[in-house]
Symmetry: C2
Subunit: 354 residues, 2 copies
């Protein structure tokens, strides 16, 4: 999801979200950095590289540690429920460490070579160190939470651990779907996978923020549901942009997702729609040939997805998920003035991709 697309020029909400994210980074970075610096030498240098704080040769770098959407959600949820953000800073760092552990492992599994405009850790340090640094960040996240004297810490550890199990299941399903025939992939399992991969940790971040503000069970559940729905809305929009996005804005070639025959949500929905348009798409969506496809061929596939209803479905579904997110937010945070931060962040991730 961090590999997502850039970026329409931001309106007012976009600017507010940017400010919230910048403040979150300022609060959380020192805690995050301390947790990484505390790792033993062979692990630390790979982690410092991954976060963009060091070059591969160990010299300092001007970091790009990511947008910090998840720690910002933790802090915004804590504030929304009347807590103090400073009480939730460690928890926010733990969530960000967990996110980065999953990025490191996903990059190994997916053989992705670029992350935040730099070569991925496994391409620089090898598979073993990338796996081990992921494991160490995972452990360090729990340690940070477990050593937090806040009374919500044990519940947060359990919740974060449960979320990681779901992330793993989502990634496992994703890998399995990659290898399957597009016609044999159901929309239900693709949605479940997207929720597990993208929604679960956003929901967990909000829930943990609530826990650290002393929220009750129902509020925490609503915060989790809010984050999940916003995550799904994001994924649907990111998938639409991956097919019909303007390359000048996305920074990726047009139809990149189609070229690799990605089983994205609009494609799976289109294939599942039945009828002649779906059959036409199925015929086009076999494995790509040896030669690179031209723009015309990719445009024909995009048109087939659209004709089979994939684009409309995805946009309607994204709107539905966003409405669900707002509903859950109102349930979690009955005082509208307090919900502003979470709302800005949700609009930010769904409008822009990130």
């Amino acid at each position: 999801m961090d590999a997502g697309r850039a970026v329409a020029p931001g309106g007012h909400e976009g600017q507010e979200a940017e400010e919230i994210l910048a403040r979150a980074r300022t609060s959380v970075d020192p805690e995050l950095r301390r947790a990484v610096e505390a790792l033993p030498t062979p692990i630390r240098r790979v982690a410092l590289y991954h976060f963009g704080w060091e070059h591969a040769d160990g010299t300092p770098a001007v970091g790009d540690a990511g947008k910090a959407v998840r720690p910002a959600l933790v802090l915004a949820a804590a504030r929304a429920l009347g807590g103090r953000t400073e009480d939730a800073v460690r928890a926010a760092a733990a969530v960000e460490l967990t996110h980065n552990f999953t990025l490191l492992h996903d990059d190994v599994m997916d053989r992705d070579t670029t992350r935040r405009h730099r070569p991925t850790a496994w391409t620089v340090f090898g598979n073993a160190d990338a796996i081990l640094v992921g494991d160490a960040l995972h452990a360090q996240a729990q340690r940070l939470l477990a050593e937090d004297p806040h009374p919500a810490a044990p519940a947060a550890v359990a919740r974060l651990a449960q979320c990681v199990v779901e992330l793993c299941a989502g990634q496992s399903t994703d890998v399995a779907l990659e290898g399957r025939d597009p016609g044999e992939v159901s929309l239900d399992e693709t949605l479940t996978m997207a929720e597990a991969k993208t929604g679960a940790l956003l929901g967990c971040a909000c829930a943990i923020g609530g826990l650290f503000a002393g929220a009750d069970e129902e509020e925490v559940a609503a915060l989790d549901a809010f984050g999940r729905a916003a995550g799904l809305a994001f994924q649907l929009i990111d998938d639409v942009i991956g097919i019909w996005g303007d390359p000048a804005r996305t920074g990726k070639p047009a139809g990149a997702d189609l070229a690799v025959r990605k089983k994205s949500l609009p494609v799976v929905a289109a294939l599942a729609s039945g009828g002649p348009a779906a059959a036409e798409l199925a015929a086009l969506y076999g494995p790509p040939g040896q030669e690179e496809e031209g723009a015309a061929e990719l445009e024909a596939i995009a048109l087939a997805v659209e004709r089979a209803g994939g684009r409309d479905w995805a946009q309607a579904q994204a709107a539905y998920e966003m409405a669900r997110a707002l509903h859950e937010l109102a349930r979690a945070v009955p005082v509208p003035e307090r919900a502003g931060g979470l709302l800005s962040l949700a609009e930010f991730v769904t409008r822009r991709g990130y």
Copy 2:
């Protein structure tokens, strides 16, 4: 370490240890099994296979989930400090889940194809699922501990997480040493690596048992030191057996560790000893040629390690570590009658390998 060697016929202590291990398996297995069964489908089937409870096709198998040395240490430590073993059963399962997470990941990194007499998970289900199931077991271990209402649970979560960081550092160093020239590997870093890879989790298991019995900080530290020293003693003896062990007893060809030029502790100590015998060994210990070496060549290398003092050093060092373990045990458990279980287990692992 579970790949270690079998087994001299057991004496009285051996029999006692076998009984302790069998009792630990009986107590911990239901908790362990419950934690695995609770995983989502795509993850669960790989985990059930790894623990030997299912065949690759999902049919039930008569499991070999390992000897359960670590959970037995947790329970024995809890008893030794006056606690009730039933209070520490979940913690023992969490330690065993953690151990199995590291086995799954180590097998991927080391490209090991056999574990507990069966094909390793990555050879059956692929790298991605083996990594993900390791991650999920890691998370499930913390969840189990974090949801334990026992007052020692948060401290145990933090301690286990810190131990995982050390295990990762040890494995990272091990992988790095594999690629280095034998002459450039120091005895100090090899010992640190062995302590991190083998000693840390045995120490942590004992420490967590102590925590769940309400032991004070000093007792917990002594229990940790006891487990670490016993772990190092085990590793030294396992390395000696790996070179000079009787193939009829170890089930491995003679000199198997030498054939792959393993930088085991006796070899590194021999190379570091200086003098003509070390130089002779260094000349023999370059990368093996294309053709398989005969028994005579491997015997010549074994003799060179012995001449350069590697065997004597390892045996003396193992005795020293075992003495240190006993000293720490006396510090942790001043009532000798209560220390019997831990003592039997330590003797079991160091005498037999496992």
